[in-house]
Symmetry: D4
Subunit: 199 residues, 8 copies
Amino acid sequence: MSLKQQLESDFESRKHWALRRQMGIPNNRRLWVCACMDERLPVDEALGIRGDHGDAHVFRNAGGLITDDAIRSAMLTCNFFGTEEIVIINHTECGMMSAHTDTLVRALREKGIDVDKVQLDPDLPELTLREGSFGKWIKMFSDVDEVCARQVEYVRNHPLIPDHVTVSGWIWEVETGHLRPPHFRVGEKVNTNKAMGAK
Amino acid sequence: MSLKQQLESDFESRKHWALRRQMGIPNNRRLWVCACMDERLPVDEALGIRGDHGDAHVFRNAGGLITDDAIRSAMLTCNFFGTEEIVIINHTECGMMSAHTDTLVRALREKGIDVDKVQLDPDLPELTLREGSFGKWIKMFSDVDEVCARQVEYVRNHPLIPDHVTVSGWIWEVETGHLRPPHFRVGEKVNTNKAMGAK
Amino acid sequence: MSLKQQLESDFESRKHWALRRQMGIPNNRRLWVCACMDERLPVDEALGIRGDHGDAHVFRNAGGLITDDAIRSAMLTCNFFGTEEIVIINHTECGMMSAHTDTLVRALREKGIDVDKVQLDPDLPELTLREGSFGKWIKMFSDVDEVCARQVEYVRNHPLIPDHVTVSGWIWEVETGHLRPPHFRVGEKVNTNKAMGAK
Amino acid sequence: MSLKQQLESDFESRKHWALRRQMGIPNNRRLWVCACMDERLPVDEALGIRGDHGDAHVFRNAGGLITDDAIRSAMLTCNFFGTEEIVIINHTECGMMSAHTDTLVRALREKGIDVDKVQLDPDLPELTLREGSFGKWIKMFSDVDEVCARQVEYVRNHPLIPDHVTVSGWIWEVETGHLRPPHFRVGEKVNTNKAMGAK
Amino acid sequence: MSLKQQLESDFESRKHWALRRQMGIPNNRRLWVCACMDERLPVDEALGIRGDHGDAHVFRNAGGLITDDAIRSAMLTCNFFGTEEIVIINHTECGMMSAHTDTLVRALREKGIDVDKVQLDPDLPELTLREGSFGKWIKMFSDVDEVCARQVEYVRNHPLIPDHVTVSGWIWEVETGHLRPPHFRVGEKVNTNKAMGAK
Amino acid sequence: MSLKQQLESDFESRKHWALRRQMGIPNNRRLWVCACMDERLPVDEALGIRGDHGDAHVFRNAGGLITDDAIRSAMLTCNFFGTEEIVIINHTECGMMSAHTDTLVRALREKGIDVDKVQLDPDLPELTLREGSFGKWIKMFSDVDEVCARQVEYVRNHPLIPDHVTVSGWIWEVETGHLRPPHFRVGEKVNTNKAMGAK
Amino acid sequence: MSLKQQLESDFESRKHWALRRQMGIPNNRRLWVCACMDERLPVDEALGIRGDHGDAHVFRNAGGLITDDAIRSAMLTCNFFGTEEIVIINHTECGMMSAHTDTLVRALREKGIDVDKVQLDPDLPELTLREGSFGKWIKMFSDVDEVCARQVEYVRNHPLIPDHVTVSGWIWEVETGHLRPPHFRVGEKVNTNKAMGAK
Amino acid sequence: MSLKQQLESDFESRKHWALRRQMGIPNNRRLWVCACMDERLPVDEALGIRGDHGDAHVFRNAGGLITDDAIRSAMLTCNFFGTEEIVIINHTECGMMSAHTDTLVRALREKGIDVDKVQLDPDLPELTLREGSFGKWIKMFSDVDEVCARQVEYVRNHPLIPDHVTVSGWIWEVETGHLRPPHFRVGEKVNTNKAMGAK
């Protein structure tokens, strides 16, 4: 092979990388991830992927929650960018469990904010919340295993997400550095002979 | 120092990591990042941080846009988790510029979806969109430099974001692998003697 | 320095290593460790020492328990080999909690072993067990945190262990790969807003 | 393979590691090691195994001796945890040869300890020693090769150890950093033409 | 194989390296490169070759231009040293576009240099320039893509370069660290939905 | 320092690298190198610089000769790009010594080339050679030490090169992989007691 | 394979290494090297062997000369230790060419040494030198290529060296760091077109 | 510093290395080593020097013995090349102890060699052996510790070795991979309580 042919091939690869979206090339794993924005959640390490180098579209928000923005982002990647699998990651000791909704709303009001009148999306005044729902919009929750399991269902049933998409949900344990399915904690089975089921 | 003292100190560090949020410890850089979910945007590398290992809360959605979910997430971290700086990253060749809104809406309708009736947030029926605004809610855009600059303003002026928070916006160039401020492209200044300003 | 002097000094070091015990040189950390023999307990890594390369005398048995052999070994190192600190490590999911004493004794009897007549120490017939105590001698236990805390007391109060020796006890979590003090599990505080103490 | 399937498989592996004992999984080499607690005896390096990372149950006490505790530990692993091989390691320049029993007993008495009344196992008063046997219980010895060879026999013949278990004994030479069988010292054959058997 | 045979073979290799030219051995890739002398143009990295360790003859001058010296050098390697491919590299932001010819000539005259009388080649007075052509001889240019494309034609058509030689031309982008063909800039296609060709 | 300030500083550095020439920034060592294009001459390694990563302007042609193109390139860098030192490298076993001029000229004529009419520079017909000088223009030479020493003088005395520029010349020995000054070969002094000057 | 079998095999290997000579095991390459003791002659690197780790018997003296001691050493290894190849290495700039014999003898006499009466071998008074031969015994020489070639013949013809042994001689060039056969210097062929044999 | 100055300094270093002997530069450690040629004796590793890269003159023969050749080589380096220290290394399991002299002489005679008439040094017929001394000339020995100690004395007292030279002797243990002084074996002190001197 002449060097000319090799350089042409190299350039073609570079073009395919940079112009992926307009050329209709999906991400490497055809994967969309929804994860919490927490600084203790190493998404790539947890999933064994290289999300930042081509493998996946990684959506992250406070809580790793299926909001309207999550639906918008998943709708785009699944319907228009070739994605075929969704993985949701919540995590233990999430900030969303660190306080009660009332505590937060009261604190904001004390700062002088009128939570019922605030425009939620600064670029989309058409998006509105029924009065009195501001606290619910913050989405604090009380049990991470339940939230994770429920969100898998939300996505599976949403009309904007195609039926053939594979969906699963996982809990990242910040205290162990491992992923687990909801409602199954290895740590619960190891501390006493009763937990271990001794006969 | 006895080994006992050393082990006690090690355990204390581990506890501080795992229980950060309930102990009121902020992330290492007191930083919130808003970035696109694109697979070609390596957030940590672009910013020179270790977001996944303690440095920042990293919010990502389709486009890296300031949606209501972005405001919710930023509000939480700036008001309750100790964050003091916001960095917004958009990127060239974003999927949000790869098609026109009308094309997408038409495609969804052809799949049988009634875009005016769909519940946007599966967990929050109280959140609604004025009829006919579905296309605008997708948030396709036409010029990444303008979007980036405008979003910095949205955040600076939003009532839920404290005034003392530092805010800046950047464009990640997928074609160069570098970050730049909006409206300044190094590549525009290098190709002809006219671009180079020869005298 | 001539090479001769250097080689003499090197030889002296080697002699000090090989003849440590007869020259009265203690181990590097003046440390005795008592740990379970389990294959999932990496003693050096857990303690941040190099026990196998000079740092400590490492005693290990089934359970990491303070038996008569443990007392014998600790007595020798603390009274005659210069040791001044003791660290005890038990671990979660220990085999000593995997069954009840009765189950084991019955199994041995079914193999034809007369557990009341067996000579426990093949080299020391003078060591005997009161009849009916064989099951207790196996030392199965039911709660690893309690065992660990109790063993620290045993050692602190034993007449063969000098009073000035520092003693501490730790639990190795096989499910997290971390050490913790007895009765404090980080993992218990992270799963719901109730566990996290949300206000 | 979808990422979901991969994550499920990863979780299964983790569970098998953490819950080994209650799931009836043996250590990787089905091996029990009895070794001295000396700080110059690098067990893993000597045997070419990773004892601390799953390969073996490693019992260690003062001398690497077959005490009642050694029998207890070996009995558990061979009868209940799937072990099928036993390796015993003694070592040269062992502290157990560094003094005579009388010297030690006298020294303890001078510290005010009544060696005939001391309770050997703080958790098992049922275990007793015939009066006057305390010195023998310490188990000082005079020839490491003989001790090693003898201990192999003790284990082979003990009723609590199943007959099919493979047993071998080795001497670790602290002065060479190598293992050898008892009664065969390479170093004895190299120093004069007589030792070398010159013809 | 005896060591003697091995040493003979090693010596033969060394001789073939050192005496390449007189033994008629071509460079490894049978390649001649013409590149700018700029300090930001890493020739080996750009081409994926090891030009400095046997792969190519690398010609470099101000601009990477096909001068009479370039023709002389290419003529020698293609006709007498076995070369069969030519690659030309120009680069963005070249110093040759940083000023206009007139500016430079005026500056030299102000230093007292008589540009019409200067002997261009200090070893070859037979080489002369038509009066008034000094400025053109400096070879400042205005558009790097055009220059690159034109130079490929110059080489393909020059009588001193054999017809069978493969010739290609490339632009090194100092702003991206990548090579591209002339007249195709990836960066032009990524910034707005218009550039991206959104439908 | 906020991340914003750090990103601004990073961008400034990148701009300074890419726009060096138009911003008037010299190369790192203010150095111009003239070297042969030979594939056995590793310029960076020979000089201990990183020429391809900012350190120098590296001119290379057949022979490493001071041609009119060399003068043009040196003139530009010394007068307009901030260069203050010149290093010339010739090398042993250069192709320019591998044949006599007549042999080459005859070979070209046999290929049907009219060497007296050929246009030397395809882009500069104003550059001409006195008839019959074609062979001299090829610049074959007979002694590399002499050529190197002479070229240093050519550059020192040329009107287009400023007087304050430091100039030196070196021979790269392909047979040893080392640089030496002209007319001093270490290898000549080592083979017999006569060469070594034994007394 | 049980660990017992593996440890037995490991011990066997160690015994074979340590007791090589009495067990009749040759060195790995069945090789004897004769080299100068000079500090610039890296024998292993020069030959591509690991002489110090089992590959060869390496004889070294002042000059790398075939003395009676060299014959004694080669006789032993070739007749009794299984060696089948001999490699001799002399080197350029050897100290043996750095002075004339007379100069040295005079210097020793000036120190008060009676060179005709000195006992050469302190352990073998039976070894004597004909009077007046002391200077010759020092073995200074004048041409390293000649010495090397001659020594190969000495060894090939000596009655104490078996005929089937392969013998070769090489010159190490301290100025290039390469080995060459006697009477062939690559460096002689590279400096002028005459040396290069230009036509 | 200009690059010119740096290249001049580099060249000076290279000259000093290659022309050491004629410029009167000693080896780096002013050291002469006498060692056995055995393939299990890693001289550099044993001494912690880089003998092959400038540190020492390394003499090696069968046995590491002080022969006339050793005296010749030591005389040269100590009197003329600046050496000031001598280190002698013998080793355990040396081939020189693997057989009795008579066995070897008989074996040579059986091959048809007339050991009384053989010319020992092929280049020095003036060197002769008293008849009947051939066997003694082979220098087999019976105790390596005695030989090592005795050789130190030979060198200290030899008239050709200056008095101020430091001399020491060491035994390399092939069975341990360590150096020791003669008559002191660490391995002798570690095997029984008697060897360890227990009280």
